[in-house]
Homo-oligomer: 225 residues x 2
DNA sequence: TAACCTGTTCAGCGCGGGTTCAGGGGATGT
DNA sequence: ACATCCCCTGAACCCGCGCTGAACAGGTTA
């Protein structure tokens, strides 16, 4: 297992490297975004720990470039405690998990284990749901191969629903993942988006569960099991 | 599923309450340790979210008293970022999980699901009872693979019965777990729900134990008694 | 400037579903 | 057997959730 640590704080960097080595990883470290990006681009890592606040090149940018270049390794991002928007940006850029500083190395190791385990099967960037396919990196939606035009908020919503297919997602959970911070409670924006999405991808794809929320389903995959 | 939230920060308290309600819990909240302790001592909760830094009575003390009083519900404690020692004290006092602020409600919900599942002895998010399977995350019910349409209250009730299969659940216990706080004593809502559920999943699934309550059973799995 | 596009707000409304009520039936105890 | 309680059931009520069309505001593009 090869791991890359990109962290500009020298102390934390060394501490992380040490911890991962102790846990059995082969570790490379970088102290700024450019070095980190270069290493990730050229070496085949199994998992990456990426700080977001970096000199020379921002963490989100690093991650975006990796993903654009087709790098699929799981990335765990480190964020300062109160930078919610960064987290969102990180996830949108293709991060697989996050951890807020300060944290316990114990927890970090647990999450890394989970990531490497999951990485075995879950590395594609497009999510399929019946005839519907969602390109999470390119922010595009196709229905039966034909492109569907969706706005950025619509896409975020659909993307989140798709990441949790067959689960009921409450309206507030959607809100929390679409917007930073909080948001006017009594607003029906979500419902409007759901309505518009249904017009575009078909009424039967997004089920509403009264009193609970919404659920993305594949209507074809119903008849008996 | 009834949940108690003990958190002194009014904003966070409301936010948590809201999130849990959206996730299908019936939620009570308390703003200080004394109120929290009282509620936990008198009401039958399925899971408790307990902040450690509380006015009037410290969270660890609250937890200790509950445990000394024989309360066994799973407790997830919330800690400020840098209070590791509190965490340890919390575990020693009988906590089942912890989460450091700030956190994502999504993560909190996942951990709560894990706790309630573990407390009932289940490991997956779907509960099986003969031909009946209940998807707790998707809020769906299947009978022999075929989907059954249930309303949110019906689902809550069935879900609670399923979490305690083969146990007799009193009507008041059901009421307490479906609604927050109290509720008109002489109302036959529960009976109506039971009736409607029986119409949907079969009459022999829910036994009524006269004078005591109801019990969810697998009719196939009881040749003779 | 005018013509978009996107996100948000608002009012109206249909209907799903939670609640209530009345009546009947079945179980239980004496 | 009876009386009594408990539970079931169908129907009706009615609140409010969620859907919708439309309009508005801000930003971006011609």
């Amino acid at each position: 297992m090869r791991a890359l640590v990109v962290e500009d704080d020298p102390d934390l960097n060394r501490q992380l490297g040490r911890a991962l080595e102790d846990a059995g990883y082969a570790v490379d470290t970088a102290l700024d975004g450019e070095d980190g990006h270069f290493l990730g681009d050229t070496e085949p890592y199994d998992v990456v720990v990426l700080d977001l606040g970096l000199p020379k090149m921002d963490g989100v940018t690093v991650l975006e470039r990796w993903r654009q270049g087709g790098k699929g390794f799981p990335v765990l991002i480190l964020t300062a405690r109160d930078r919610w928007s960064e987290k969102v940006a990180g996830f949108d850029a293709g991060a697989d998990d996050y951890l807020t500083k300060p944290f316990h190395t114990e927890e970090l190791l647990a999450r890394l284990r989970a990531l490497t385990r999951r990485a075995a099967g879950h590395t594609t960037s497009t999510i399929e749901c019946g005839e519907l396919s969602i390109d999470t990196r390119g922010a595009r939606v196709f229905i039966d191969g034909a492109p569907v035009k969706v706005t950025s908020h619509e896409f975020r919503m659909l993307s989140y629903l798709a990441h949790h297919q067959d689960r009921v997602i409450s309206r507030t959970e959607l809100v929390e993942h679409i917007y930073d911070q909080d948001f006017d409670r009594d607003s029906n924006t979500i419902e409007v988006f759901v309505g518009r999405l249904r017009k575009k991808i078909g009424n039967d794809r997004i089920e509403t569960v009264r009193g609970l929320g919404y659920r993305l389903v594949d209507p074809e995959a119903r008849p008996v099991s």
